[in-house]
């Protein structure tokens, strides 16, 4: 498996990125604040205000470092990367499969199977950790529904059915997530999933984590030569990275949801890290974002045994490993796409 390099997250609104030789230098108010050789990095994500010099962007393109510009709230604005990697024949295969509802359903169902199984693991982990202290009957019940729904996806299925099962499962799952919040309950309480805008602290936290994850899914797909815009579950819509959203599904519970829960339950983020705007939408403060990014980077370094490859890899490489398996499947090396399932 390839080596995991670092992704640099730039959150300081005064930061400007420049090139110095083979180094990236972060300047804040014209003072050098940080410096690293470019070859330690595989990506840069700036919650962009000031931006980066053209010389730095040129070096990043040459070295294969993806640079993403996000708004302060984590909305994607632009990505700078070099010529697309990989084989045009592979991308054509991807497009052909995406054009067929039947083939799309086969692949889309694998992402959803992964997602439901991993949602179930989030619930089961909670039950084994806290089940004796709290009333977990509802959580147990939803865990069973998710297991049943995984089995419902296992057959000749239409895309609409996949989406139906996914929507139904998501509602059930989010309906019990409040039980999994065991600290700061007065600040973190959700009523379903909402995102445009997030209407509560928990949804704001999730949205931010999902935007970090989406960046990684997209970069992973580009690395293996797939087109992140053409998805199987998420159909084409201008500007939407459909395949990156597809690939992200199976990682949401493992990489984002449980991280959000542990950040709250361990009080690494607190209620005062969020502001409710007059419109009702919630935005995260810089301090909270910083805490989340730190935890995110730490989690990416944790080792996990890949369930299909049966190899220990850092969690941060999971999107890459799955993108690679997806490319192998699309190309015909592998009979099915094996979703990442966290045990």
């Amino acid at each position: 498996m390839r080596k995991m390099l670092n992704v640099l997250y730039v959150t300081n609104p005064e930061a400007y990125l420049v090139k110095d030789g083979e180094n990236l230098v972060v300047r804040i108010q014209d003072q050098e604040a940080f410096r690293t050789p470019i070859h330690y990095l595989e990506g840069i994500v700036t919650f962009g205000y000031m931006g980066a010099s053209p010389a730095l962007l040129g070096m990043c393109v040459e070295k294969g470092v993806t640079v993403s510009f996000l708004t302060a709230s984590g909305k994607h604005q632009a990505t700078v990367h070099g010529s697309p990697k990989g084989n045009v024949l592979l991308r054509r295969k991807q497009y052909r499969l995406a054009d067929s509802d039947h083939d799309s359903a086969q692949i889309a169902s694998m992402f959803i199977i992964g997602k439901l199984a991993n949602c179930r693991t989030v619930l089961r982990r909670f039950i084994s950790d806290y089940g004796e202290k709290v009333d977990a009957a509802q959580v147990v019940n939803v865990s069973k529904i998710l297991a049943r729904n995984v089995l419902r996806v296992n057959k000749e299925i239409h895309l609409d059915e996949v989406r139906g099962i996914e929507g139904e499962s998501a509602r059930e799952y989010f309906s019990v997530l409040n039980h999994l919040i065991v600290a700061q309950k007065e600040y973190f309480y959700i009523q379903g999933r909402n995102r445009r805008p997030p209407l509560d602290n928990f949804n704001a936290l999730l949205s931010f984590l999902y935007s970090l994850l989406l960046h990684e899914a997209r970069a992973a797909l580009e690395t293996v030569g797939l087109d992140p815009y053409v998805g199987f579950l998420h159909r084409d819509r201008p500007g939407r990275v459909g395949l990156a959203l597809d690939l992200m599904e199976e990682f949401r519970p493992y990489m984002a949801d449980r991280l959000a829960l542990s950040l709250i339950n361990r009080r690494q983020v607190t209620g005062d890290g969020f502001i409710k705007k007059e419109s009702g939408g919630v935005v995260m403060k810089d301090t909270a974002r910083k805490a989340v990014i730190e935890a995110w980077q730490k989690r990416k370094r944790e080792e996990i045994t890949h369930p299909f490859l049966n190899k220990k890899i850092p969690a941060g490489l999971l999107p890459y490993a799955q993108a690679l398996l997806l490319a192998r499947h699309l190309r015909g090396d592998l009979d099915r796409y094996p979703p990442f399932v966290w045990k």
């Binding site: 498996m1 390839r2 990697k85 990989g86 084989n87 024949l89 592979l90 199977i113 199984a117 865990s143 069973k144 297991a147 049943r148 995984v150 089995l151 296992n154 293996v224 030569g225 369930p307 299909f308 490859l309 049966n310 190899k311 690679l324 398996l325 192998r328 499947h329 190309r331 090396d333 592998l334 009979d335 099915r336 796409y337 094996p338 399932v341």
Partner: protein
């Protein structure tokens, strides 16, 4: 004999060494445009930086050295660049030379013939371009700092032709052969992308999914 007359039919000459080593490695690099540097390939690049200077010529005694010489062969359908060609002045002649091709390699001689094959392919190109015959050339290895003489005999020439034709066949059909996991994978810069473990019979995704469904059914 089949000729590759169209320029767009030509394949990269340097690929023949990958193809001789592993057909899948070649396909990943040359058909799928995937490439991963590792320590060995970076060292190789640095070594080549010295050899790669098309404006460099050097004359020492009766030997003129030219570098980065563009090559093409229509019988092989390959094009590329020779690291170094040495022109040796022939005795009693002001204008005639004998030519030797030298290919620079990092590391040491390989257990297989991939370097010999690449050198011989270069020789065939030069022969076609200048209408000459070459009996031998040299491989120079960075680790041993030694030149090895390579005879371009009929057997080696036949092997080069055979490999080149197979490369063209695979390229035309867009074939990436399935992985074969063996000891070659240990030194392969593409192992991370190739995922040779998938070659094992027990890695079938269907079986993996069945295990997952069984677990769900037991809930």
């Amino acid at each position: 004999m089949k000729k590759y007359d169209q320029e767009e039919d030509l394949l990269s000459l340097s690929g023949i060494q990958h193809f001789a080593f592993c057909e899948r490695q070649w396909a990943l690099i040359h058909v799928e445009n995937q490439w991963v540097d590792n320590v060995r390939t970076v060292e190789g690049k640095i070594l080549h930086q010295r050899a790669d200077d098309p404006y460099f010529t050097e004359v020492r005694g009766d030997v003129k050295t030219i570098r980065s010489v563009p090559l093409v062969s229509k019988t092989l359908g390959l094009y590329g660049v020779a690291d170094v060609i040495e022109l040796h002045k022939l005795p009693k002649s002001k204008t005639n030379h004998s030519y030797s091709i030298v290919e620079y390699k990092r590391g040491k001689p390989k257990p297989d013939d991939r370097d010999e094959v690449q050198l011989c392919a270069q020789a065939i190109c030069l022969e076609e371009m200048l209408d000459i015959q070459l009996e031998y050339g040299y491989l120079y290895y960075g680790e041993t700092k030694r030149r090895h003489k390579v005879q371009f005999d009929d057997f080696l020439r036949g092997r080069v032709k055979e490999l080149a034709d197979k490369m063209h066949q695979n390229f035309a059909r867009g074939i990436t052969p399935l992985p074969v996991k063996d000891k070659r994978c240990k030194n392969c810069s593409m192992a991370g992308i190739c995922v040779p473990d998938l070659a094992k019979g027990n890695k079938k995704a269907e079986k993996y999914l069945t295990g997952l469904f069984d677990e769900m059914a037991n809930e």
